[in-house]
């Protein structure tokens, strides 16, 4: 009897990546690897002052250079480039791609050069002479709120970009505020924890900087734009709108993209300028960002100050939380700038059932690079504030940090759980993650190890943190771009499968995970599946990759599109086999009748028949291709537990991470190998934030960490081996049960490392330490303790 070989199911397996062969051989194509005939190079002259009025711009020397095609000042560009749009409903000052009369952060562009050679473009930009009437630089966030030492945008008194948004218990949809509950919570408190905490400013630092190649073809009246972006479809929409073109007239392509981490969601001035200048001059224009530019010209992340007050009973029961948030958003609103801190509001209570919460958010302009989404985007900040407060409570009550958390968890039977902040947590089992974290870390033994080290005079500490994040963004009500994702699936006439996804990846491995899903769905070898992405002329619709949404939203769209095609293919197969479509099995590259593998056809035969359907089964159209949009009814809420052990050198204050344990629950996993990679990467960035990363400005508004000489990102030598574990609590929000995992690592790691540092220095009476854990800062605590 003929038997059909059953292909091993791939979903859930550690399938090695299909992207890798090109990447490991230097055969991938990033934007700077592209050349278009006739292409010229763009360079930006940038402000070297943080705040000032432009008095004069002398471009004559630049213009006189042989090989310089054009020079434009900001004012000249403003004649054909409108102010840049933002993606949030908040009021915003006009923001030109290139400053027209006033510069508001060091690094803001003031003029551009187009030249026939990259080196020459840089020479010519350097030859432009700009004089400024310097204004006082607004650097200190809280001083800025008093309108001192200057007001950056005249229409925004006291530099308040967003004066005050209240949220939480007692705050009505109409903005009405009732303080009864929150006041009662604090009145009933037996212990109150109060702490000012800074979640510091960071540079996202994808290893590939930004870059764009814009090619307007006058004869066709259409534009092709390649950009190192996380979301080519949003880029297409914006470029079309800004250039008076239809979306059908712009083709946006994200080629290989060398990391994004949120910073490549934005559509930047450089992209608008490249596109508009290409259109104006009718020639292809390329701009590639230098690292020195990236530090000042690509958005920064975080920079939120939190005044945290936590009210509790002495048994550890939390009664209330007040969170005063002040976000330093830099000089302008970018695409999502104003919305990021609202995610901090949304997730303020973390994994805890807190009866009364009051959050108040203010956003402030300063003369710094604008902030926007950076891996985690608002949620690491929320996690950090609530987790640090829980630790301080545990410390105050002399309770184990796990115990105080356990006491306040939202319980498994309470899901879906509507929080006072307006989130509806989909599913969760926080105690399970905590329990596994404690087990994997060997918590009790670890405490003994710490105590033994302390007995030898070493400064060793332990930290633990829980997190829950909002992922899988999200319903369209929460995203101005639309909150769906799109996919198309085609069975080609030779039986191979090509599928498109709007979730444009930049390291996430969608070409592999999505192919695993389709291979299983259709019972074909993964080698027969190709995943296409990143090109708006191939991928009909899409939103993009951010907010840990690729799998939960994009993956589901793919699954649904595949389902539609499979249903149709089954009808063709049924006709061919003279069987009922309900009785068919797709397995081992064949389609056959259940229980009768011999009665079947190869997958390719059925595909071929669908394209030459003689006879055409009644009610069917030829072909096997369909698409699906998927919009989730809710976000997903992955969670987990991070535990760390850290030692501080008593003489130098240098911290060393000894142990990092992470338990993450991202729901169902498609490819655990890739998931581990995502968690490792998130942990690395969280540890980086906790320990070595910080953007620093001096009082003149100059960024003093403007290169890798002064801004540290982690090296291989900075980490111990991470120890991962996982629990699986599927989400009911999508049929895959997948929640998303891209940002998880950044959430628990920061508070747990700071907790470990505070624990290590507990003999000196310290209760909180702001990030980063600069050795001198720790040394001063040690010195203070001795004095």
């Amino acid at each position: 009897m003929a038997t059909t070989p059953v292909l091993p199911k791939l979903v859930g397996q550690r399938v090695k990546r299909r992207e890798d062969p090109r990447l490991i051989q230097g055969l991938a194509t990033y934007v700077d690897d592209l050349k278009v005939a006739g292409m010229l190079h763009l360079a930006f002259k940038r402000s070297d002052v943080a705040h000032g009025r432009i008095v004069s711009i002398d471009t004559s020397a630049a213009q006189a250079m042989e090989g310089v095609e054009a020079v434009f000042t900001g004012a000249q560009l403003a004649e054909f480039i409108p102010p840049m749009p933002i993606g949030t409903p908040f009021p915003s000052p006009a923001h030109h791609a290139v400053a027209t009369d006033t510069v508001r952060y060091a690094g803001e562009p003031v003029a551009v050069v187009v030249a026939n050679d990259r080196y020459l473009a840089r020479d010519a930009a350097d030859a432009i002479v700009v004089t400024y009437d310097t204004l006082p630089a607004v650097v200190d966030t809280e001083v800025a709120m008093t309108g001192q030492p200057a007001v950056i945008h005249a229409a925004f008194p006291n530099n308040l970009a967003v004066p005050l948004v209240p949220g939480g218990t007692g705050v009505g949809a109409d903005g009405s505020v009732d303080d009864t509950a929150i006041n009662q919570a604090f009145a009933a408190a037996e212990v109150v924890i109060s702490q000012r905490m800074l979640n510091q400013r960071l540079a996202p630092t994808a290893m590939e900087g930004r870059g764009v190649l814009a090619h307007f073809e006058p004869g066709r009246g259409s534009m092709t734009i390649w950009s190192s972006t996380q979301n080519p479809h949003i880029l297409r929409t914006m470029i079309a709108a800004m250039n008076g073109l239809g979306q059908d007239q712009v083709r946006a392509i994200a080629p290989e993209v060398g990391g994004g981490f949120g910073a490549k969601i934005n559509i930047y001035g450089e992209e608008y300028v490249a596109a508009a200048v290409s259109k104006r001059l009718g020639i292809p224009i390329k701009w590639i960002e230098d690292r020195s530019e990236a530090f000042v010209a690509t958005i920064h992340g975080r920079d939120i100050l939190g005044y945290v007050d936590l009210a509790a009973k002495r048994d550890g029961t939390v009664l209330g939380l007040k969170l005063r948030l002040i976000a330093d958003i830099g000089a302008y609103n970018m695409l999502l700038t104003a919305a990021i801190p609202t995610l901090t509001m949304l997730m303020a209570n973390g994994t805890y059932k807190i009866p009364a919460i009051r959050v108040a958010l203010t956003e402030v302009f300063t003369n710094k690079t604008p902030t926007d989404a950076y891996r985690g985007a608002g949620r690491p900040e929320a996690t950090y504030f609530v987790e640090r407060a829980m630790d301080m409570l545990a410390s105050e009550l002399k309770m184990d940090p796990a115990e105080v958390r356990r006491k306040n968890f939202i319980q498994p039977h309470e899901f879906p759980y509507a929080t006072p902040m307006g989130a509806v947590y989909d599913s969760g089992d926080y105690d399970k993650a905590l329990t596994l974290g404690l087990k994997n870390a060997n918590w009790t033994a670890l405490k003994a190890e710490r105590d033994a080290a302390r007995a030898q005079g070493r400064l060793v500490g332990l930290g633990l943190a829980m997190y829950v994040e909002v992922c899988g963004l999200g319903p369209s009500s929460s995203l101005p771009t639309g909150g769906w994702e799109h996919s198309g699936v085609t069975i080609e006439r030779d039986g191979r499968i090509s599928a498109t996804t709007g979730a444009s990846p930049h390291g996430q491995g969608n070409e592999t995970t999505f192919a695993q899903m389709l291979a299983d769905q259709f019972g074909v070898p993964i080698d027969h599946v190709t995943i296409l992405h990143g090109d708006t002329s191939i991928v009909k619709q899409g939103i993009g990759t951010f907010g840990s949404r690729s799998q939960a939203v994009g993956g589901t769209a793919l699954h649904l599109a595949g389902g539609k095609v499979k249903t149709k293919m089954a009808k063709f197969a049924a006709a061919l086999l003279e069987a009922s479509e309900d009785d068919l099995v797709f397995e081992g590259g064949r389609i056959f009748v259940t229980g009768a593998p011999a009665k079947g056809k190869s997958f390719a035969e059925v595909a071929s028949y669908a394209y030459v359907p003689v006879p055409l089964p009644p009610g069917l159209e030829p072909g096997l291709s369909d698409e699906a949009f998927f919009e989730p009814a809710n976000n997903t809420y992955p969670f987990g537990c991070h535990i760390s052990m850290l030692e501080i050198d008593r003489e130098t204050g240098e911290p060393k991470l000894l142990k990092m344990v992470a338990v993450d629950d991202a729901g169902n996993l498609i490819n655990p190998l890739i998931v581990e990679g995502q968690i490792h990467g998130g942990l690395a960035q969280g540890i980086g934030q906790a320990m070595i990363e910080e953007v620093v400005y001096n009082t003149e508004g100059q960024m003093v960490t403007g290169s890798f000489m002064d801004y540290a990102i982690p090296r291989a030598t900075d980490f111990p081996r991470f120890e991962l574990g996982s629990t699986v609590t599927p989400t009911p929000v999508n049929p895959l049960g997948a929640k998303g995992v891209g940002e998880a690592g950044t959430l628990g790691s920061t508070p747990c490392i700071v907790a470990a540092a505070v624990d290590a220095l507990s003999e000196f009476g310290v209760k909180h330490i702001d990030m980063m854990l600069r050795p001198e800062k720790l040394w001063r605590i040690i010195q203070g303790g001795r004095a």
Binding site: R22, I24, G26, L27, A28, A206, E208, G209, T717, F719
Partner: protein, 152 residues
């Protein structure tokens, strides 16, 4: 302009270049060997790492004219006769990359490391790649990838 003759991946390449042309731009722009990347301006990130006369070097910190007469190996020259280098296989098997941008430089540094020390400890691997930044992986799978290559 200056004449250079540089052997790249076994093939002698002659060109007339501006003296200030960086080696990395010579490889990328003149030879279209775009596997070597640029990630910083200050000789830290290592994305541009190639082998110059057998030793790893940051090709953004070397003018092409300085490499005149030298022999360069880039990521494109690592696979032989269609067969991946053991390090390339290791990176693939162990998921040693995500966005892939740092990967060519990372692999070239690992080649240098294993040339000097074919059986490094984990700490020696971490030190051996400490001149290369990866923002995606947290390095653990990269360490695994190098260990995988050592086993072969």
């Amino acid at each position: 302009m200056t004449q250079v003759a540089i052997t790249v991946n076994g093939k002698l390449r002659k060109a007339t270049v501006e003296p200030r042309l960086l080696l990395v731009h010579f490889l990328r722009e003149h030879l279209n060997l775009t596997g070597t990347h640029i990630g910083c301006d200050t000789s830290q990130c290592g994305a541009c790492t190639v082998l110059v006369d057998g030793r790893s070097a940051k090709s953004c910190t070397l003018f092409a004219v300085q490499a005149d007469g030298s022999s360069i190996t880039t990521i494109e020259g690592l696979a032989r006769d269609g067969k991946l280098h053991p390090l390339q296989e290791g990176f693939w098997e162990e998921h040693g990359l995500q966005c892939g941008y740092c990967t060519p430089g990372m692999i070239m540094s690992a080649v240098n490391l294993l040339n000097d020390n074919p059986a490094p400890t984990e700490q020696q691997i971490r030190e051996g790649i400490s001149g290369n930044f990866c923002r995606c992986t947290g390095y653990q799978h990269i360490v695994n990838a190098v260990q995988h290559a050592c086993k072969r």
